[in-house]
């Protein structure tokens, strides 16, 4: 909001520089964001908080300044009391049909005005605060609004059918063309200022074009009213029409300021545009009762909440100068104050803490102490945070960069990406609308965000990428009306070369096993028991390079190579490996404590064996088969190498494994190992029909 320095000085006697005024206002909460010179004037750009509509005018700002500087306001804009037209006569000109939406309505007829340009001083004032001059009458109503905070509207009386005003709800589908030359359709919740036939203005928002002041206007009807705040807000939203007037009405204007504003404007019109003013019409069907705030000991309340020591007298002085008046019991000033009455312009003063804030800001927040609260118990992280941290750090050590993507994604991914097991069978969450085209789906999967990131990075010629994201995914609640289901998921993507720091070209390309290794390493770092990987079929992954991920027998997610279809959709020309699983499921499993195994005292003997196996053969089946044969001599099996190609049929692979034989009590002899090894090979031949290569 723009406030003119010179204009302020019309309203209050101050001897302060613009910079001093700016500092003072900021200190009490009227944040001056800038002071800009304008001719011989200075304009304050004030960022006003929404609870202070009373400061949306020069009078309001002057009032605050008056409290700060203990200066009094001038009487320049004060007007003498008016005797309104008796209600019976007034009713012939103005009728309020819907008093629930129009608390007070004043009108004045000014005859024989001469519409023309405004005098230079008026144009200058308006221009200083960024307002455009239209004509003398329109400028005066605008001027008085910026001076006293009260929006008003002038009608061409002769264009009002029947020469009168009816304040009523619009009829459904009633139409009006507003001053901005837009035809608008009203509904029966909206308040309209009508003539005998049709709406002439949308109450509190904008006047109609037809009844507006033109160069030919001779007789003016000046409306200064107060409308129900919530109704103005809802009408303004419905019509998507916000104006200086609606902005003020919906936040609340000063109900007791109407007559003063009307009189000020009338006097200015008569002075500047000529004309004779008629009697004041003042219909006030719905009086508003000022807020009364109970406060037994305001000084103590200030001390309790702010730590400030402000004596009762000083508290009273601040409040009184803000127009917040103490109500003495039995009108006896010697008795303790128990209640304070908020002035008609302060809709925001309702309870004792509101008074505390007034006293605190006028005492200066800088005078409040700076101390730590008394010591308290120990702080704590979220129970899962240490494991999250280990998990994250492990991925970072493995070369993954952490991504954060928007939680809303396009619905097109519903059909392409298979959600993790904890989301299977759940309805999805949809946004009523979005600010990013198409992105109305609250993500049930983190993969679309990471795939978009891959595409964006490919476009920047970054082809070796490792990204992960940890974040919430969403699905609908269990039952109608239940809050949505939220789970922490982890997704990672991996593609391109196995990058070394500072080297331009990778030594090799990553494959499925790199991605699997990353998942295993991160889980192990977080102390999760080893995950099991089994052959799977998942919609967005390529058949034959897809695995289920399970922990402690529970399926928690999937990993594998992105399907050709999806890759083609993104125009990816290199293999992309992805994994996604429910991180809560993974970390729900109790953290593993390492178990100490005594160090071997006697050397072990290993035997490497190669088998020719079919491509469907699973390495894991060897471990499963031999698990029951593990004993004090046969210690286990590990993977050595897999080979395919020359010398083998296309559907065959050569698999080399290592078997370890070792005892804890003595060294095994060669012949003992030969016998054990023969046994093991026989088990494998019997159970899996595989024979060592010769």
């Amino acid at each position: 909001m723009n406030i003119s320095y010179n204009w302020l000085k019309d309203l209050i006697d101050i001897e302060l520089s613009p910079a001093e005024v700016g500092e003072m206002l900021t200190r009490v909460g009227l944040a001056v964001e800038g002071i800009h010179p304008h001719g011989d004037d200075f304009v304050f750009d004030i960022d006003l908080t929404s609870n202070r509509p009373d400061c949306l005018s020069h009078l309001g700002v002057a009032r605050e300044l008056g409290v700060i500087t203990a200066s009094s306001l001038t009487e320049r804009t004060e007007t003498t009391a008016q005797v309104p037209l008796p209600a019976v006569l007034a009713g012939e000109i103005v009728t309020i049909e819907d008093a629930d939406l129009c608390h007070r309505f004043t009108a004045r007829i000014i005859k024989n005005v001469e519409i023309g340009p405004s005098p230079k001083w008026l144009i200058d004032r308006l221009e200083a605060i960024g307002e455009r001059s239209i004509n003398n009458v329109a400028d005066i109503t605008n001027y008085v609004m910026h001076e006293l905070g009260q929006p008003m509207h002038s009608f061409d009386l002769d264009k009002l059918a029947g020469g009168r005003i009816i304040v009523r709800r619009a009829k459904a589908d009633e139409e009006i063309t507003t001053l901005d030359e837009v035809e608008r359709k009203l509904d029966d919740t909206m308040l309209a200022i009508c003539d005998e036939v049709r709406p002439a203005a949308i109450a509190g928002i904008m006047g109609g074009l037809e009844s507006s002041i033109t160069d030919e206007t001779v007789n003016v009807l000046l409306e200064v009213a107060y409308f129900k705040r919530e109704n103005i807000r809802s009408t303004s939203r419905k019509l998507n029409l916000s104006t200086e007037a609606s902005y003020r009405f919906e936040r609340g204007v000063d109900l007791e300021n109407l007559v003063r504003a009307s009189t000020r404007a009338t006097q200015m019109i008569c002075e500047i545009a000529g004309g004779e003013a008629g009697d004041l019409i003042d219909l006030y069907p719905t009086p508003e009762i000022a807020n009364t705030v109970e406060s037994i000991d305001i000084s103590r309340a200030v001390k309790r909440l702010t730590g400030l020591e402000v004596e009762s007298n000083k508290c009273l002085r601040i409040l009184t100068s803000l127009g917040i008046d103490p109500r003495y019991e039995d009108e006896d000033p010697d008795k303790q104050v128990k209640y304070f009455a908020a002035p008609s312009w302060r809709h925001d003063i309702a309870i004792e803490v509101d008074l505390v804030e007034e006293i605190a800001r006028h005492s200066g927040y800088e005078n409040i102490g700076t101390e730590l609260p008394p010591a308290y118990g120990a702080g704590e992280y979220q129970a899962t945070e240490p494991r999250h941290k280990l998990f994250r750090q492990s991925l970072v050590d493995l070369g993954f960069d952490e991504a954060i993507s928007y939680s809303f994604i396009d619905t097109k991914h519903d059909e392409t990406i298979e959600v993790v097991p904890s989301f299977v069978g759940r309805e999805l969450v949809t946004l009523a609308d979005s600010v990013i085209e198409g992105a109305v789906r609250m993500r049930p999967t983190l993969l679309p965000g990471l795939l978009a990131a891959i595409r964006a990075n490919f476009n920047q010629q970054r082809k070796g990428l490792r990204l992960f994201e940890i974040g919430k995914a969403f699905a609908a609640g269990e039952s109608e009306g239940a809050l949505p289901y939220e789970r922490d998921l982890i997704a990672l993507v991996m593609t391109g070369g196995d990058m070394l720091q500072g080297r331009a070209i990778a030594e090799r390309d990553v494959d499925f096993y790199d991605a699997k290794g990353a998942v295993q390493a991160a889980l192990e770092a977080a102390g999760v028991e080893p995950a099991a990987f089994s052959v799977a079929d998942v919609r967005h992954l390529r058949k034959g390079q897809t695995a289920d991920i399970s922990i402690a027998g529970k399926l928690i997610g999937y990993m594998g190579r992105l399907s050709d279809d999806i890759s083609a959709g993104y125009k990816f020309k290199q293999p992309i490996y992805v994994a996604e699983f429910d991180l809560q499921d993974a970390l729900d499993v109790a953290q593993l404590l390492p178990i100490y195994h005594p160090l071997p005292k006697f050397p072990g003997i290993t035997r490497d064996v190669s088998f020719v196996v079919k491509r469907e053969f699973l390495y894991a089946s060897i471990g499963e088969t031999l698990a029951v044969h593990l004993n004090e001599s046969f210690r286990g099996v590990s993977f050595v190498d897999i080979y395919e190609g020359k010398g083998l049929e296309p559907d065959e692979r050569s698999l080399t494994i290592r078997l370890e034989y070792r005892r804890d009590d003595r060294t095994l002899t060669e012949s003992e190992v030969d016998a054990l090894h023969k046994d093991i090979l026989e088990h494998l031949a019997r159970s899996l029909s595989i024979q060592p290569r010769v």
Partner: protein, 363 residues
């Protein structure tokens, strides 16, 4: 005796002939393999001309044939010839070995300025880095970290926070709604309510998390961002404790000389309310960096960070806490905004583009 001398002379001559190629070796620009084959040849010579089976050793057996009075002189002669042979071979050998060793060192010379073999390590997101730093500070100050729902009911997002229906902050144009009528939380203050319902009072928590506002992405707006909310409720908590706490954590993050400034403001869930600023970490409040205008604070010396205030009595009542018995403060600020100022980012959307060239700049 002269016969025996002649034989010794003959051995010497024979050796000298065979050794001629090594006598005045010039190895300049010889290849390593040539020198290695020279060394092998020399090895053969050594075997032939030294040791028990060599010819010079055989001449020692002639000593018995020499008259006793000449034996001493003959022995000396044989020894001197043997010594001469051994010395010659050893000298040549060590010359060759030195040459070979130097050549090998040369051959194995590395460019030590090439990059080390080091897997590229990844990077935490800037938001995670800052969040963890701030969490660490608050945990050490006795605060617990709270984490909660991102999709909320209007009750938690608005009503319980003293934002009744019809309040401007409640306008749906700022808040995302699901088709079921739930709100994407528009501030982490929702966690104040959930945490107090769960833990009761007294309470000290901070709640980091994502929040959502219906802003179309541009250089200074994003529809999703991160906030950290702080809440402390106990008997006797005042605004001085708020100022002390905010100042303390900012000093721990940005240095002891950091000062804070509180300005009156308005938030529905606090009363009195204040916005807080801190002296710029870069220019230390001077507004100037060298002779240039300081970038993070735009020359003002202050960085506007967040909102705060004393918890509104209606908020305490909403969770069944008696505001005449307990009081508390709350504060909140945006992490993206803070990052943008700390790193002078001119486009806040970079935070969610996941461009690796951006991500890898932070650790």
């Amino acid at each position: 005796m002269s016969d025996e001398r002649d034989k010794v002379e003959a051995v010497r001559t024979a050796f000298a002939e065979e050794f001629a190629g090594y006598a005045n070796l010039s190895l300049d620009s010889s290849s390593l393999s040539d020198v290695e084959s020279l060394l092998r040849g020399l090895g053969e010579l050594k075997i032939k001309h030294t040791g028990k089976r060599s010819e010079i050793a055989a001449t020692m057996k002639l000593i018995g044939r020499v008259s006793p009075e000449e034996r001493g002189a003959f022995g000396q002669m044989v020894q001197s010839v043997e010594k001469e042979i051994v010395n010659s071979i050893e000298t040549a050998e060590s010359k060759l070995n030195r040459y070979i060793s130097n050549a090998k060192i040369e051959r194995d010379r590395l460019d030590v300025t090439l990059p080390g073999r080091r897997p590229r390590t990844g990077h935490l997101h800037l938001i995670t880095i800052l969040r963890q730093k701030i969490e660490d500070i608050f945990v050490s100050m006795g605060y617990s970290i709270e984490n909660d729902r991102e999709i909320e009911t209007d009750y938690y997002n608005f009503d319980a926070l003293n934002i009744p229906e019809g309040h401007p902050a409640r306008e749906s144009q700022d808040t995302f709604y699901t088709t079921d009528g739930f709100a994407l939380r528009s501030q982490t203050s929702t966690v104040q309510i959930r945490a107090m319902e769960r833990r009761g009072v007294p309470i000290r928590i901070i709640a980091p998390g994502k929040v959502f506002r219906r802003d179309t992405p541009d250089m200074t707006h994003v529809p999703m961002f991160h906030q950290i909310e702080g809440l402390c409720v106990d008997k006797g908590i005042t605004m001085a404790h708020l100022k002390g706490t905010v100042t303390e954590w900012l000093q721990r993050l940005f240095g002891e000389d950091t000062v804070t400034r509180f300005r009156p403001s308005y938030f529905p869930f606090t009363e009195p309310s204040a916005e807080f600023d801190f002296s710029c970490f870069k220019c230390h409040g001077t507004g100037k960096f060298g002779s240039d205008r300081c970038r993070p604070c735009k020359g003002s010396g202050w960085i506007e960070l967040g909102g705060s205030g004393m918890v509104h009595p209606n908020v305490l009542r909403a969770v069944g806490v008696d505001p005449s018995e307990y009081s508390g403060f709350a504060f909140g600020f945006g992490l993206e905004r803070m990052c943008a100022m700390m790193y002078a980012l001119d486009d806040i959307r970079l935070m969610f583009d996941n461009d690796v060239r951006f991500l890898e700049q932070f650790r």
